[in-house]
């Protein structure tokens, strides 16, 4: 009971592990490219929770700074990935990643 009511590092690690595995599940089982991108965002959020949790319970600033850069990179990644998905849709008329099997039109 003491474990459950005192919020510590393990609580954050548990949430982050669940988010990571859900994101991995989405990447693995979905065919729609946009849902796969959502899974990648979940994985990045899980990593950010871990960085911030260790930073908080360690008293350092390294995790905070790295999570800031992770957010910046996630924004750039989402923009580029959406542009690629829109291009794929223009060429194949579908965003189903298992039907995209040719490198040249």
């Amino acid at each position: 009971m003491e474990q459950l009511t005192t919020i510590g590092l393990n609580h954050y690690l548990t949430i982050s592990a669940i988010l990571l595995c859900l994101g991995l599940f989405a990447v693995m089982t979905r065919k729609n490219a946009i849902v796969i991108l959502m899974g990648v965002e979940l994985i990045l959020n899980a990593a950010n929770i871990n960085f911030l949790a260790f930073s908080k319970y360690n008293g350092g600033m390294e995790g905070v700074m790295i999570s800031l850069f992770v957010i910046v990179l996630a924004a750039a990644e989402a923009a580029i990935a959406l542009a690629i998905v829109i291009n794929i849709f223009k060429i194949f008329k579908s965003v189903d990643v298992s039907s995209i099997d040719s490198m040249k039109e």
Binding site: T5, T6, I7, G8, N10, H11, Y12, L13, T14, I15, A17, I18, L19, L20, C21, L22, G23, L24, F25, A26, M28, T29, R30, K31, N32, A33, I34, V35, M38, E41, L42, N45, N48, I49, L52, A53, S55, K56, Y57, N58, G59, M61, V64, M65, S67, L68, F69, I71, L73, A75, A76, A78, A79, I80, A83, I86, N87, F89, V95, D96
Partner: protein, 172 residues
């Protein structure tokens, strides 16, 4: 940190985060997934506030909810002909995916709860960290900060170039 109100609010936000993330993953409708992702991002931002990273929480709301989520919704709307096909997504590898999901959660939780003493210091971050983020950005992390600006410029140009509409050939 054993204030009961604090604990209840933490569990509330943790439940919002985990259940909406599960709904993102298990829902067959892409629009439902996108709107459920909104709640996940807000829940994660609330957890950042619990981790005394207030600036990161605000950045999360601005960048993820205001930017990435709108971009994803735009992608959903753009790549599904709403009038003709339903917004469903197919599923494959469901059995190995489920095995991986529960296997990895179990393995990671087992490792977390049986490992002790991976916190080398007793000091924890307290209060607001905005000022310290400013100092760190301009001292130790000034090179990655500048590189992030170059990367964002490159990503901006690249995304605009990739997603532009093909004009009909009218140069002659």
């Amino acid at each position: 940190m054993s204030n009961p109100t604090y604990t209840v609010i933490f569990y509330l936000f943790a439940a919002i985060t985990v259940f909406s993330a599960a709904f993102v993953v298990f829902s067959r409708n892409v629009i439902y997934s996108a709107f459920s992702l909104l709640f996940t991002f807000f829940g994660v931002a609330a957890l950042y506030v619990f981790l005394s990273a207030d600036f990161i929480a605000v950045t999360q709301v601005v960048v993820y909810v205001g930017g990435i989520l709108v971009l994803l919704l735009f992608g959903v709307m753009f790549t599904n002909s709403i009038m003709f096909t339903e917004l469903k997504t197919d599923v494959l590898h469901i059995v190995p995916g489920t095995l991986l999901l529960f296997g990895m959660i179990g393995a990671m939780l087992y490792t977390f709860y049986t490992t002790h003493g991976w916190m080398p210091s007793d000091v924890t971050l307290q209060g607001s960290i905005v000022e310290r983020i400013g100092f760190e950005t301009m001292s130790r992390y000034v090179l990655p900060f500048e590189m992030a600006s170059i990367l964002l410029l490159a990503a901006l140009i690249g995304a605009a170039f990739l997603a532009r509409f093909e004009k009909p050939d009218n140069n002659e």
